[in-house]
Symmetry: C2
Subunit: 424 residues, 2 copies
Amino acid sequence: MSSAIKELETKVAAARTAAKKLARLPTEVKNKALLSIAENLALYRNDIIEENKRDMAAADEANMSAAMQDRLMLNTTRIAGIATDVKTVAGLPDPVGEIFDSRTMPNGLQISRKRVPLGVIAAIYESRPNVTVDISTLCLKSGNAVILRGGKEAIHSNLALARIVQRSAYEAGVPDGAIQIIESTDRSVVDHMLKMSGQIDLVVPRGGAELIKFVASNAKMPVLAGGVGVCHTFVDKSAKLGDAVAIVYNAKVQRPTVCNALDTILVHAEIADAFLKALAPEFAKAGVELHCDWGSQQILQGTPGLKIVPATDKDWGKEYLALIAAVKVMKSLDEALEHIDRYGSGHSEAIVTEDKSNAARFLDEVDAACVYVNASTRFTDGGQFGLGAEVGISTQKFHARGPLGLKELTSYKWIIQGSGQVRP
Amino acid sequence: MSSAIKELETKVAAARTAAKKLARLPTEVKNKALLSIAENLALYRNDIIEENKRDMAAADEANMSAAMQDRLMLNTTRIAGIATDVKTVAGLPDPVGEIFDSRTMPNGLQISRKRVPLGVIAAIYESRPNVTVDISTLCLKSGNAVILRGGKEAIHSNLALARIVQRSAYEAGVPDGAIQIIESTDRSVVDHMLKMSGQIDLVVPRGGAELIKFVASNAKMPVLAGGVGVCHTFVDKSAKLGDAVAIVYNAKVQRPTVCNALDTILVHAEIADAFLKALAPEFAKAGVELHCDWGSQQILQGTPGLKIVPATDKDWGKEYLALIAAVKVMKSLDEALEHIDRYGSGHSEAIVTEDKSNAARFLDEVDAACVYVNASTRFTDGGQFGLGAEVGISTQKFHARGPLGLKELTSYKWIIQGSGQVRP
């Protein structure tokens, strides 16, 4: 066995042992640990930044793109932001121990479900070092032990952050071994990890589409994965123009690099001219490039400063993660529903309409994690939905869909209390 | 492509198309279909029995065991039982469309979760033909399309049952294609099916441990599986003797061939003599064979008519599915908890005790789908828990645990209604 695999197996075994105690750890201890993590992140920020500089230097040497380097970089402000998020997790209700679905059967049996942690959760992620803290604190609050496996390019930052999280947590009374970080950056670790279905209860991949696909198709245990967000907004003929422009603009421009940003604008033929002409100057100013079907191109061409490209088949169903959107004119709501059904990725889809029956049909017929009427798809987020922090956005239907909060990191057990009942 | 694979792909495609309509089918249509299925099962029972005879003849020729033949056999009474179960499903509340977790955010967004079907569910099962009806009616009520793949040995019975289910359902207005049965008994169908992760949303294996293991380790899509039920009952020193004898007797004898039947009796040393001596004559009468540790053997040997065998290491953690139980004397609750943690399969575990703090510890510390105080583990069942019919008992923690009712065959989507909100 290689030393990398040995490290993994030792740490997973320790996590399993810790998980049993962690499942019954009082909420106060968990919250105390979280507040101490937040405090120590701020206190030891210079140590973190120093380790981060080692990663940044290596990134520079490897000619990493500016966007990637930006994801990797930590500074005082960013560390303060991470610490604030940890405090938020401390303030969230503890899902563990919640009793629900209680009933008393005619034979007197008292039956309930009680929320329990899943056990040991493995997180496999890429260059953002904040994930080290996000996932470990969400696992801690939900009573799960965690195995962290971050990207090679962030290894020094991740180890520095994990050391602070571990020390703060253990000093506060969290069982030793509850938070594990894999130091080896050997690729074989991931392959081996995905086979440990008896010991790891769930894998959460966080990163690009390729990582997620690899994990989903190789893991022998359950996977809780987000994925591609190909988000459409359909501007119906009855839409309020001002709302439609504001919603589409926000969904595309406010943060174009994330999965809930708009990719394709579908617009009803009867409002296409007015809507696109109202939107065009705003998009021109923001530097948005539009990939237009024939109909929208006729309307938009000649808009001063607006970048227009004829759409090709590859534009439908494409996630841009950039200031680019596809545009297509629709003859009807039905055509829009068909387009979304064919090209959507089941993430976030919106309609802008004043027609109540069209709104109801859209909500009913679109099969996606989050379906919107008259709002920006950018709201798909645990915080915005009132769940507090989130582990990610699930585009799968099994177990949990949409923003994943603390509750989505739990299972339940049935508790049955009797007084001698036997089955007739 | 072989004709078997072609059949599978054609039927899965048809099921996917049907699933979209089925997801929005009114409850009344589903219930009408279910009642018609129940009626027609009774009406055409002779056709079913005739087809079943072909399977029985083949089974006889193949020297199938009497127990297996019994599972396969259908007669008027059994068909009436199946029809009654279908009527029960018609009477259950429709989970689809339920709105829950509603909230209005400070920005005015109205956010809810709405329960939706999973989509297309594949069922892979063995010799019991009733599964054809059970699973297809539970899928129908929960708005899911179903692909049925039963055992070769029951193919004629399954086809006859499925024809009645399909015809009754489609005549009542269920979309064509919603219920599919694979006619080919070629093994390659299962292998191919388990790879169709884009088209099949969930696989439910029902049958022996080997089938379940095969499906769980080869499926590329989510699996909802039960599995081995190694069930313990711990008789604590404070147990009421009468209750303890009745509970242990019931858990072992009432139906020994099922997964929630008792396998191992753990008994506190201080009550072992009294308890085992009270239980022994009952077990002797019922023909139960005991595999005893040294301590229990000292107490039990010489009981008239009782079969005793010294336990070996293989007895701990063994699922007998027969009138056999292992017995072990425990020094303490802690020892019992450790034994269950080590050898239990996470199905159903019970304590018999009058000590409230021991009861609380047992409920809290045992990690199993169903944890009992002072009742027989035989109650682990959808009907007994008030869920109505069940798809099976899950021993996994992800998505659903314990008895799987209609709700456990669903997912949800987030519905967000706004009035022009954009994200700041």
